[in-house]
């Protein structure tokens, strides 16, 4: 009798993780795998594989521009976000939570309204352009809206918190005694930062750059509102044309290709950064 009881418990134990997995797996299948598969199917309709070569050819400028914009925005967000996260984690003291709240605060305002308000700041007759004209930073007659700068800047701004938060977390949990040890071993502060702090915050940098780069690549709101026809990104092409039934196979192919390009980029990045365990 006790024997059989034990087997029962064991069997239950064996099942439990799978049962726990079930809701998530089901959701993933229904909401991700199936739609993904139907997009793949759609992308091969009408022209088959030629849909892929066709969109690649027609949109090569847009594809290059898209990665340039999202890449530049990610680098910018890292340059601004890392020192910010470092300051909050290391020097924030009792204001830590308050400062973090400030980082997240813009999220309480709709994405669209935030982006639109940049438009009011950057328009030709606005304060930023006026100041830059009077400081001769910008030639007369040249504005900011409808330039690469405006779109990259807005992408960087909109995704900055996604960069700051993961880096903050990795810096926050850094064992300070390691820095003391580095000092005890006659490491200069710069050297200690390079060898200890930076290394140990790599997972945060990795997560932050991906969280910035991937959504920025698919973004279309910033290019639509702050750019012109010279700043069209892949997201805009898809958003504007998906309603037309005859464009759908090509646009699905474009989406798939975008996904593949991002995936390859992320794998290379993971390899270079030595964080395979995260990828």
């Amino acid at each position: 009798m006790p024997d059989s009881d034990e087997t029962g418990t064991k069997a239950n134990r064996w099942h439990t993780p799978y049962l726990l997995l079930l809701p998530g797996a089901l959701a993933l299948i229904v909401f991700f795998i199936i739609p993904l598969f139907s997009i793949l199917q759609l992308s091969l309709k009408d022209g088959g594989l030629s849909n892929y070569t066709g969109v690649l050819h027609d949109n090569q400028d847009v594809i290059i521009r898209t990665f340039y914009f999202s890449g530049a925005a990610t680098v910018g967000a890292l340059l601004i976000g890392y020192p910010l996260a470092y300051f909050i984690a290391m020097r924030g003291g009792r204001f830590k939570n308050f400062l973090l709240a400030l980082v997240v605060l813009p999220f309480f305002v709709t994405y669209l309204v935030r982006t639109l308000s940049w438009k009011i700041l950057l328009y030709d007759g606005g304060p930023v352009v006026g100041l830059m004209h009077s400081l001769h930073l910008l030639p007369q007659g040249q504005g900011l809206l409808g330039t690469d700068f405006a779109v990259i800047f807005a992408l960087m701004y909109n995704y900055l918190p996604f960069m700051v938060l993961p880096i903050y977390v990795s810096l926050e949990k850094l064992d300070r005694r390691l820095l003391e040890a580095a000092g005890d071993l006659y490491g200069s502060p710069q050297r200690a930062f390079r060898k200890v702090t930076l290394r140990l915050s790599l997972p945060g940098i990795f997560a932050g750059t991906l969280l910035t780069f991937i959504p920025a690549t698919g973004d279309f709101v910033n290019a639509e509102l702050l750019g012109s026809d010279k700043q069209v990104m892949l997201g805009n092409i898809i958003e504007k044309n998906f309603g037309k039934e005859f464009f759908r196979p090509q646009l699905s192919a474009l989406s798939f290709m975008l996904m593949a390009l991002i995936l390859v980029g992320v794998l290379i990045y993971a390899k270079v950064l030595g964080t395979e365990d995260l990828a």
Partner: protein, 410 residues
């Protein structure tokens, strides 16, 4: 006013409270919903009408032809209408005098929903049900002519129960018999909008009147055109001396080429959908291809705004949105009775004055206020010529759309 480097506080508050126009409202909604939804594909128009006069009022009668309309049987029933935003007074069905007047007169309740956000999206959403012959939960829907033509051809639309719609005779004569729906057996215009040009006279240094102001090198980098193919190609064709109601495809493709080379020369500040009004208001755009309803809303919200709107001497484009009964409707008689009510010029006059679109009902202008009669948005000058883009075949649509996308986006 304010110096060049300050933001006019009035402008900010105005931007904030800007009455959303139909198209802008939609675009925002689409973006917020994550963007699967299709941007501004909804405008544009096709068809066969040539010239829109203004409804001089002659011959508008409320007919009561015989037939077997049994209005008493409809009492207490509900009629469901799907329409575009901003197509009823104050965009609020609960206070709309048109709907209230109808319910008071007939006892038919109206479930009015402003939920159509694009011709393509609409069909994508409902086509499976329509194909299967199921109802879609609506008795009356409103779509732009080219999509209406597709749907009638596909057999998705019921004929009017004509006994309930004697006022159909009040439709403007040039809208009475399009070749895609002879004698309006299945459809009737809900509203007519205009595509023309808006500009700042203070910046362009004088009055403009031609389509070709859009291509004038004097305004290089200060012009916006619309990413709506039928509007941009149509107006460009008019500037080239061609007729968008007849095509053919060579002339349409030539217009696309003209747009492309102007874009390559940096003529356009932006090729844009709904948000062209923002740059226009900020003064960054001097000359904009524009939809009448948007400019009407802008001026209504800010009467001091020194922006002018004109229908070019070469002609402007029209878009017509048509009310129709989808197959499987539960209350087609109620739907026809409602349109009959709207097609009474006494009802139509105040309605179209309020929503700032041209009334398709003959004689409606007679029931507008002096302001309404003077408004070019509601009562365009008899001298203005209007064109609806011709109905393209599926192949032509694909060919032209591909060329237009390449010319304006890629």
């Amino acid at each position: 006013m304010t110096g060049p480097n300050e933001i006019d506080p009035k402008l900010i508050s105005h931007l904030a409270e800007l009455r959303t126009s139909r198209r802008r409202f939609l675009s925002r909604g689409a973006i917020l919903m994550g963007g699967v939804a299709l941007g501004p594909t909804f405008l544009a128009a096709c068809g066969s009408s040539k010239k829109t006069d203004t409804g001089s009022g002659s011959g508008a009668t409320t007919q009561t032809t015989g037939g077997t309309a049994d209005m008493a049987a409809l009492k207490g029933t509900t009629m469901t209408m799907f329409n575009w935003p901003l197509y009823i007074e104050d965009d609020d069905a609960s206070t709309s005098p048109t709907i209230k007047g109808f319910t008071d007169a007939t006892g038919i309740k109206v479930d009015y929903q402003s939920n159509i956000d694009g011709n393509d999206t609409f069909l994508t959403k409902y086509e499976p049900d329509l194909k299967a012959g199921h109802g879609i939960g609506a008795d009356l829907i409103v779509l732009t002519s080219w999509e209406a033509a597709n749907m009638i051809e596909a057999g998705y639309i019921e004929e009017w129960p004509s006994a309930y719609f004697p006022n159909i005779a009040n439709v403007l004569s040039e809208q009475a018999n399009p070749d895609w729906d002879p004698n309006r057996a299945h459809s009737i215009p809900w509203a007519i909008g205009q595509t023309g040009i808006a500009y700042w006279p203070s910046k362009t240094g004088g009055t403009l009147d031609s389509v070709n102001a859009l291509f004038d090198p004097k305004f290089k980098g200060k012009v916006t055109i619309l990413d709506e193919m039928r509007d941009s190609v149509g107006l460009t064709m008019l500037g080239m001396g061609n007729d968008p109601t007849t095509g053919p495809i060579d002339q349409e493709l030539a217009a696309v080429d003209k747009i492309k080379s102007a874009r390559d020369d940096g003529q356009f500040r932006k090729i844009t959908g709904n948000d062209y009004t923002e740059d226009l208001q900020l003064g960054d755009t001097w000359v904009a291809m524009a939809w009448s309803g948007d400019i009407a809303s802008l001026k209504a919200g800010n009467p001091d705004l020194a922006i002018e709107f004109y229908i070019p001497t070469e002609g402007g484009m029209n878009f017509v949105d048509n009310a129709m009964i989808p197959i499987g409707a539960k209350n087609p008689e109620g739907a026809a009775a409602f349109m009959n009510h709207v097609y009474d010029p006494k009802v139509a006059g105040p309605l179209y004055e309020s929503i700032n679109y041209v009334s398709p009902v003959t004689g409606a202008v007679d029931y507008m206020t002096a302001d309404g009669k003077a408004s070019p948005f509601v009562n365009p000058s008899v001298d203005s010529k209007f064109y609806e883009f011709r109905i393209l075949t599926a192949d032509e649509d694909q060919q032209l759309s591909t060329a237009f996308t390449a010319a304006t986006q890629q």
